[in-house]
Symmetry: none
Subunit: 225 residues, 2 copies
DNA sequence: AGCGATATTCAGATTATGTTCAGGGGAAAC
DNA sequence: GTTTCCCCTGAACATAATCTGAATATCGCT
């Protein structure tokens, strides 16, 4: 999952980036409203964390523009304690959740997960696909109840495919959601990771759709062959 | 486990701090309601001991603010003998337990342990994980029935990981819950302690999840590789 | 068969984690 | 009050896991 953080306080944004990366998200940082708006406009984020008190363009305006443009990603806004009115304006502009500064990182993470899974139409943090179970809150995966050891990128890949189970996902989409801005996309890393994942969770769980991409499936449902 | 004590009586707070540290908690002290509120807002405590009769902001208000902000940590309130009404107000504001001053330290400790274990979803003070047994009431640990000699910080680490068994715990989270306020977080102390713990309880009980953190497991349950 | 697409394998680079050690500080013992 | 001992800390160094990109093999379609 790829997250955009729009926050002008350098300390806080660094802290957020570290924490988010720790949990296995790809993260981009924007330091002011303009940069933030532009990134949100051009990159396919899975969620955005948006401070409302921003230089250049304020957060509410950024959010309004995004929504006016039809951007759907969930947005979690951050407000200072006393900016109650801003918070309301933020919700009116299309925010999905808010958090008052200061906050505990753990709480932010929990809310973010809630947004991500709501956006994907799930109600829990764990996704089950025919014996394969992916737990986003603890970054673990199980096959038939047995814990599987996955590396950070392997889990990102699996997690993204799991939240979009059944859909064909292109290599490009995977790269965009698993890596952040600075990544050299031509290389076969995705194939390599898919290969490694298959070896760990079972070859038949990831279908290749020639020319389009991959699809995570429940092997027991796939009879036609 | 990291505890916040909000208490204006210097003697009492010092006594509490000593007692709590003896048992292996990390402890922060706040001397008035305002400081207490701020700490509870910004640091991730596992439990709070809150005197209701406080200068600057009274205890009930502090508690209300926390709960309004969504803070979930268990709170044990302290009241003077004759403040029955305050006690009720405290419960209404979201307290989890209370104690009337004066009280015996042992009773406070016992109630605190009860709160901590309830918060973690356990029903006893000792946690068993495949032959490893962690007893929070006596701050001891056993492997296959044999008592193990752990230093204070080793036990803190183990205890925290045990109450969150199976979950991956980041270095950051460990530092935040094992140390109190004044601690320089960049250093490799966590790795050092994990190393020492492993030597004492067995290497395979603490899994490292590269890029994320550590996880305490029952080695017999982890077969998949 | 031939072509483009996907898989697999591998090695070097990179980074995260492990280990060892010495000095300081504090508590207990004397 | 002094000594002793144990533990914590932080640094330096060693090791190990993972990522990446390329080279090579295989597949599936026309």
């Amino acid at each position: 999952m790829r997250i955009l953080v729009v926050e002008d306080d350098a300390d806080l944004s660094r802290q957020l980036r570290d924490a988010l990366k720790d949990v296995g998200y790809a993260v981009d940082i924007a330091n002011d409203g303009e940069e933030g708006h532009h990134l949100g406009d051009t990159e396919p984020y899975d969620a955005v964390i948006l401070d409302l008190g921003l230089p250049v363009i304020d957060g509410v305006s950024v959010l309004q523009k995004w929504r006016a443009d039809g951007k759907k990603f969930p947005v979690l806004i951050l407000t200072a304690r006393d900016q109650w009115s801003e918070k309301v304006a933020g919700f009116d502009a299309g925010a999905d959740d808010y958090l008052t500064k200061p906050f505990h990182t753990e709480e932010l993470m929990a809310r973010l997960r809630a947004l991500l899974r709501r956006a994907a139409g799930h109600t829990t943090d764990t996704i089950d696909i025919g014996g394969l179970s992916v737990d986003n809150s603890s970054a673990r995966a199980f096959v038939d109840g047995m814990s599987i050891k996955l590396t950070s990128h392997e889990f990102r890949l699996l997690s993204y495919m799991a939240t979009h189970r059944g859909r064909v996902i292109s290599r490009t989409e995977l790269v965009e959601h698993i890596y952040d801005q600075d990544f050299d996309r031509d290389s076969n890393t995705i194939e390599v990771f898919v290969g490694r994942l298959r070896r760990k969770i079972g070859t038949d769980r990831i279908e290749t759709v020639r020319g389009l991409g991959y699809r995570l499936v429940d092997p027991s449902e796939t009879k036609a062959k």
